[in-house]
């Protein structure tokens, strides 16, 4: 195989799995608070929507990384995942407010889970870039 | 540097139907001089490797002494003996003897790096050329053939310019061509002034040796 191409790498698969966990998690496990009695939504609902979008993008990027063989393109994809992950990290509580009380679901479950997923994505992207470029150097 | 093995014996304890004491080497006297290629031949299990290992300082004799010039190497502590071996003795052990986690070049430099000796990469490359595998310097040992591995062992044993080279079955499982190459290299090394001991059951080795001794049942005799 051409030195600038690679098959399916373990790291790519791990990141894709993380993307699936993040997206399914935000939808089913650690989403924001539900609607109020009158059917209206609290501010954290919109943070949850934004995180669903971020998780979808990260999953699509990681799947592209699995199936695209060109190492330079893989590197570019990993690079792009870093700012996307950081955006996901700063949405809850900073860019979009969460509920006022810290014992609500958005604080207890969504915020910490999003923090962990986005930090893991950012760190794994950096490691992936180092691994891809090290193969290049040799 | 001259090596003198005086009244060397080595016994082992093992469970057997007869006696529990097995004498691998009995009262061996041996001298190895600079510029000489001395061959010890004999069947498998005759005790030749045991003699080599005792001369190398790697196997404590049950009795007898090993003198390098006038120095009794078994009178030294392990640390001093090891440092002495590193400086003065090159050993080519039996079998596949490279470290798999470092490249060919790094393997050759290993004895020098252990004690921070002066050998440079150029010195290592010179030795790799001498043994004919300079193109494989960045390869890992698991990608080498048997012959290439042996040549690596020879280069590694010579990096510290030892006064003594001890080779244990260096042509073990090699084909004829590689056997000739290895024996020529050893002859070449002896011609440069190194004292070379070759332990082998290879019949072709005789034409490269200055003297041949035979080991039989732990006893060493002229061939």
């Amino acid at each position: 195989m051409d030195k600038n191409r690679s098959g399916i790498r373990i790291m790519d698969v791990i990141m894709a799995v993380l993307g699936i966990v993040f997206l399914l998690g935000i939808i089913f496990l650690f989403g924001p608070c539900g609607p109020k009695e009158d059917g209206s939504y609290m501010t954290c609902h919109w943070a949850g929507n934004a995180e669903t979008g971020i998780a979808s993008v990260l999953l699509i990027l990681s799947l592209m990384q699995v199936f695209i063989k060109n190492k330079d393109i893989k590197t570019g994809i990993s690079l792009s995942m870093i700012p996307v992950s950081l955006l996901g990290l700063f949405i809850p509580g900073r860019l979009i407010n969460l509920c006022m009380m810290h014992d609500m679901a958005c604080h207890l479950k969504m915020h910490p889970a999003v923090t962990v997923c986005t930090i893991l994505f950012a760190v794994m992207s950096i490691i992936n870039i180092v691994l891809l470029r090290r193969g290049e150097k040799k | 540097m001259k090596i003198n093995g005086k009244d060397l014996s080595r016994t082992y304890y093992r469970r057997s139907e007869g006696s529990n004491i097995f004498t691998a080497v009995k009262d061996v006297n041996i001298e190895l001089s600079p510029g000489e290629l001395l061959e010890i031949t004999g069947r498998s299990g005759s005790g030749k490797s045991t003699v080599l290992n005792m001369l190398a300082g790697l196997l404590t004799p049950s009795s007898g002494t090993v003198l390098y010039d006038d120095l009794d190497i078994y009178g030294l502590e392990d640390k001093e003996r090891s440092a002495f071996r590193n400086e003065h003795t090159g050993v080519i052990p039996q079998g596949q003897t490279a470290l798999s986690s470092i490249t060919v070049l790094e393997n050759v430099l290993l004895p020098a790096r252990l004690y921070n000796r002066e050998a440079s990469e150029d010195d290592a490359m010179e030795l790799l050329s001498f043994v004919g595998i300079e193109g494989l310097k960045d390869v890992y040992p698991d990608q080498l053939s048997g012959g290439e591995m042996r040549r690596l062992s020879i280069a590694r044993a010579l990096i510290n310019r030892p006064s003594v080279l001890l080779a244990d079955e260096p042509t073990g499982d090699l084909d004829d061509e590689n056997t000739k190459v290895v024996l020529s290299l050893l002859r070449n090394t002896a011609d440069k002034g190194t004292a070379v001991l070759l332990v082998t059951h290879e019949e072709d080795a005789r034409e490269y040796a200055d003297r041949v001794l035979k080991m039989n049942g732990g006893i060493l005799k002229e061939y």
Binding site: E37, G93, N97, L98, C99, M100, M101, H102, D103, H107, L108, K109, H111, P112, A113, T115, V116, I119, L120 | S49, T50, N53, M54, A56, L58, L59, T60, D78, K79, S82, A83, F84, R85, N86, E87, T89, V91, P93, Q94, G95, T97, A98, L99, S100, S101, I102, E106, L110, P111, R113, L114, Y115, N116, Y140, R156, D168, E169
Partner: protein, 401 residues
Amino acid sequence: MNFIKSLSFKNLKRKPGRTIALVLLSAFLAFSVFGGSVVVLSLRNGLKSYEARLGADIVVIPNQARSKGTLDSILLQGIPGYFYMDNAYYEKIKEREGVDIASPQFFLASASSGCCSVPVQIIGFDPETDFSIQPWIQESYKDTISDNDIVVGSNITIPVNKKLTFYDLECDVVSKLSPTGTGLDNAVYANMDTIKQMMQNASDLGFDYFEGTSPDSAVSAVMIKVEDGYSIEDVNNDINIHVRRVTSTPARSMISGIAGGLEGVSGTITVIVVLVWILGIIILIVAFAMISNERTKEFAILRTMGASRKMLSGLLKWESFLIGLAGSVAGVLLASLVIFPFAGIIRNKLDLPYLLPGIGTIILLALGAVIISVGAGLIASRISSSRTVKNETGLILREGA
């Protein structure tokens, strides 16, 4: 020795599967000890904090509040609640012998409807007699709490100088309190006049909280400091006997109940961590022994080149040090990803006061976890490899042929 260090790193790099397995094991050990110690310490901190926030020697509440466990729900879980007795009881209690200071407190739960910004616990205090809430407020706000000023607990996300409305009374948020790890972090604090106004407004709005008692003369709890020379039990019993329809409890028995729960949880965590470690160290010793055994030929080759036994020990030591260091740092980082972001859920599930230690303590715990994990690896490696290093090289070469 630098060469030995670089050789040990190369050895690990060249056998990634083996290295990763050992690193993961070391990570697991560090994860368990760091995670376990942070949780146990957080429980102890929470209990200390709970004790400090109660502040009183004796707590007196109406009988129905005791039977429903409302006070515990408020203090521990932060579930908004309310209960009232007439002021006359307060007057009786403060006259009892041995009572040094008796300070009334007022609990009100804000509603989920339009008259209130957010459903929270509101706690009022009498500035003239209070001895537990004001000192705590003083830690973050030096001025007096004026009428219509409120101070919010650490679990309420609202900036200072914003306004919140409770029962149509608009209040200024003047400060945020430091965390306690208890349900009190979910509460809002106001002076007596402010909360009395809220209570009156609530009654006027039709909220039937007061069960016949006039909001103006309703008191929720009385916090008591016992006079020097009097025993807390005696004063407590005296109140229970002579003041009807109230329950008086020494604060320390409220705490000891929780302390019992805490000891149970801490004990379980400690046992689990110890078991993990025993198993982990056994596995490490076996793993290192198998690896050493596999490498007898490699060590013999090094010996032929003049490597001393000390150098071989050094090589193994560096390998286990690098494995231990990488593993323990990874373990501490992974544990941090669990116990810090998810502290809220952990506290909810444990249902006990839970206050994370300060950053200095956390760093010390992390360092401690790294040191003992690395140490365990070094000891395991030393135990399992000592025989291999001491082998007579000539025998290995002979056998290995």
